[in-house]
């Protein structure tokens, strides 16, 4: 196992389109790194560049101590799991697993041993004599995983491996993959993993660290908790978390040292130490507050925005309350037991943000200017 380093890696296509803008990323030995972002953010391109399936037009990729820029995929010490499994359709599962080892001219008995080991880890022993078309989606995905595992690569690359599975199977495969990663770590052969997904649930539950990407730039690389609690900018804040963080354009001013946020015609004064965290002069900002950190209070309460309920979604354990505050849409999540069942669409309510959990983003750059 080895660490993986990307240094100012760029990708410009023949038609002049720049997909990746000089990104830097360090994946530590044995780390589970998730690349996440919306479609078209170049996360898959980045993964394919690491794999060597895509050439890089600038910068340097290192696996271990070796610069692999000009190495063919087979020589990079990587294994990859593809979104469509990419099993060889004419080979039985056994040959699918052993194909890479055979090409390396590894002795037959060693291959047999490795096949047995991997198939018992993934519980695919009974599938060894089947053809890929005789496998279900989950089984095929396990075989694809086995094909990567059997090679003992330096780095594992996953390209949205679970997106073709149904929700239930996806959840169980998620656990299986993280368990496998832990197991390898405990056995003293930690696996360095780069895992691409567009699903933030996968990212949050699986990654040791998460790299959030947008338009070929890295927005933030951090562990899931930090990403959630201390987003570096409004993009990360909006991307991570369900429902999305409320991001509302506001004007920031002061009143006797306390910050005052004005949205539309309404103003609230925020205490709770926000003033100490703020690193900016007054001016245009974006207020960021997670739906979970907005409390629903009677209209007219101090420190709360007044709004009109536009929609109520009962989710069982909680209620999503959508409200309109002078043209800005807010969502608040209220635990069902705290919810006032008399509230209905069209009612006036107050929404009070928790000052300790407010994020203030610079309106122009989007950077978080409220990190202590």
């Amino acid at each position: 196992m080895a660490q993986l380093q990307l240094r100012s890696v760029e990708k410009t296509y023949g038609n002049g389109f720049k997909a990746v803008h000089g990104i830097n990323l360090d994946v530590k030995e044995g780390e589970f790194m998730v690349l996440v972002g919306p479609s078209g953010c170049a996360k898959s391109t980045t993964l394919r560049m690491i794999a060597g399936l895509e050439t890089i037009t600038g910068g340097e990729i290192r696996i271990g101590d070796q610069v692999v820029n000009d190495l063919v995929p087979g020589k990079r010490g990587i294994a990859m799991v593809f979104q469509n499994y990419a099993l060889y359709p004419h080979m039985k599962v056994r040959r699918n697993l052993s194909f890479g080892l055979k090409l390396k001219r590894i002795p037959k008995d060693k291959i047999e041993e490795a096949t047995q080991e991997v198939s018992s880890i993934l519980e695919i022993e009974q599938l060894l004599e089947r053809l890929p078309k005789q496998l279900s989606g989950g089984q095929a995905q396990r075989v694809a995983l086995g094909r990567a595992l059997i090679k003992h690569p330096e780095v594992f690359l996953f390209d949205e491996p679970l997106s073709n599975l149904d929700a239930k199977l996806r959840a169980s495969m998620r656990v299986r993959i993280t368990d496998l990663h832990k197991r390898l770590r405990n056995e003293g052969r930690p696996a360095t993993v780069v895992y691409v997904t567009h699903d933030q649930v996968e990212a949050m539950t699986m990654g040791d660290r998460i790299c959030v990407m947008k338009d070929g730039h890295i927005m933030q690389v951090d562990d899931p908790a930090t990403l959630y609690e201390r987003p570096a900018n409004d993009f990360v804040a909006g991307f991570i978390g369900m429902p999305e963080m409320n991001l509302v354009p506001c004007a920031l001013s002061r009143n006797g040292g306390l910050p005052v946020l004005s949205a539309g015609s309404q103003q609230i004064t925020v205490g709770d130490g926000l003033a100490d965290r703020l690193k900016a002069e007054d001016g245009k900002v974006t207020l960021g507050i997670r739906p979970q950190h907005l409390s629903v209070v009677p209209a007219g309460t101090d420190g709360a925005f007044n709004g009109t309920i536009t929609n109520l979604e009962f989710m069982g354990h909680e209620v999503n309350l959508h409200a309109d505050v002078d043209g800005a849409a807010f969502v608040a999540v209220v635990p069902s037991e705290d919810f006032d069942n008399n509230l209905k669409r069209g009612d006036k309510v107050g929404l009070r943000p928790d000052g300790r959990r407010i994020h203030i983003f610079d309106a122009a750059s989007g950077a978080n200017i409220s990190l202590s």
Partner: protein, 304 residues
């Protein structure tokens, strides 16, 4: 006892007599089906009749050939086959079949290999002038064969290949048949690249990827290519006519004409008998490979 009669009415209800409308509809469907299948059978028979007549007539005596219009021989005889096989030359028809084989085998194998290589290149790799080169390959499809006959003949004459099999198969074995290249390229375009990328990650070289991954997936297309090439070569008359001059090297297609040339009174039964034999390999191969063949020409429907 009353209970029993309560249990059974379900079956009785289903067996109620059909209504007038139902009967009318059923009759209509039956009549329509009869007309449709009748028409299809008739036209089908019309199409296949010459073949049936050919096979029937090959068992007739030469005298009966044109006296009875029926395809069924009055006195079936295999004399046509025996005499036809011997031919009027020092060689038997077996020799001509072998000659055909010596052209077909290298041509089919060569075509399959060379066209796969060329198509793989066009379908999967980027290289300078690729578009222009591919356009020129396709352009040769549109070029009438006749146009190139004379320059080709002169070329092969200068190389000294006249009266040999070489001019008949070497151009094809060098991916000279643009149609096949095009066919495989189209087929390859429908196959996702994931498997090839997986193979590259597994450490396969370009050639290993082609041999171990791409070719097995191409099998249906390759079978169609081989089949087409086999049938077209077997039936090719003009090529051998131009390049092969000594009887010893005649393939079947030319040898059939031989019997017409050398006999004063045409022994039609021999010609027909040998024609049946000449058809047999193509038909056999076609029916054996039919399943793959149809898979191959409906290239778009390939699933990864």
């Amino acid at each position: 006892m009353a209970m029993l009669s309560d249990i059974s009415p379900k079956g009785r209800g289903d067996r109620r007599p059909p209504t007038q409308i139902e009967l009318k509809l059923r009759r209509k469907a039956r009549v329509s089906a009869t007309i449709r299948y009748g028409l299809l059978t008739l036209i089908g028979l019309l199409m296949v009749y010459p073949l049936i007549w050919l096979i029937g007539a090959s068992f007739k005596t030469n005298a009966e050939m044109f006296t009875s219009p029926s395809f069924w021989p009055n006195e079936p005889t295999v004399q046509g086959y025996i005499d036809g096989w011997k031919t009027s030359t020092p060689y038997t028809f077996g020799k001509f079949f072998l000659n055909s084989l010596w052209i077909i085998i290298p041509k089919v194998i060569g075509t399959a290999i060379s066209c796969t290589l060329v198509a793989y290149g066009f379908a999967r790799f980027e290289f300078p002038f690729k578009k222009f080169l591919f356009a020129s390959v396709i352009a040769t499809l549109l070029l009438p064969n006749v146009v190139t006959r004379i320059p080709q003949y002169l070329l092969f004459r200068d190389i000294g290949w006249l009266d040999s099999f070489l001019p008949l198969w070497v151009p094809s074995a060098m991916a000279g048949d643009a149609f096949f290249v095009f066919m495989i390229v189209q087929f390859l375009r429908a196959i996702p690249r994931d498997m090839e990328e997986a193979a590259r990650v597994d450490g396969a070289t370009t050639l290993q990827t082609l041999v171990y991954i791409v070719v097995p997936m191409l099998t249906p297309a390759l079978i169609s290519v081989c089949l087409f090439q086999f049938m077209w070569t077997m039936n090719d008359f003009l090529g051998p006519l131009i390049y092969v001059s000594s009887v010893e090297k005649y393939p079947v297609s030319l040898a059939l004409k031989l019997s017409i040339d050398t006999t004063e009174a045409f022994a039609w039964n021999q010609i027909l008998a040998m024609s049946v034999l000449a058809l047999a390999p193509s038909l056999t191969v076609f029916f054996l490979a039919q399943k793959y063949f149809i898979e191959g020409i409906s290239a778009g429907g390939v699933k990864g």
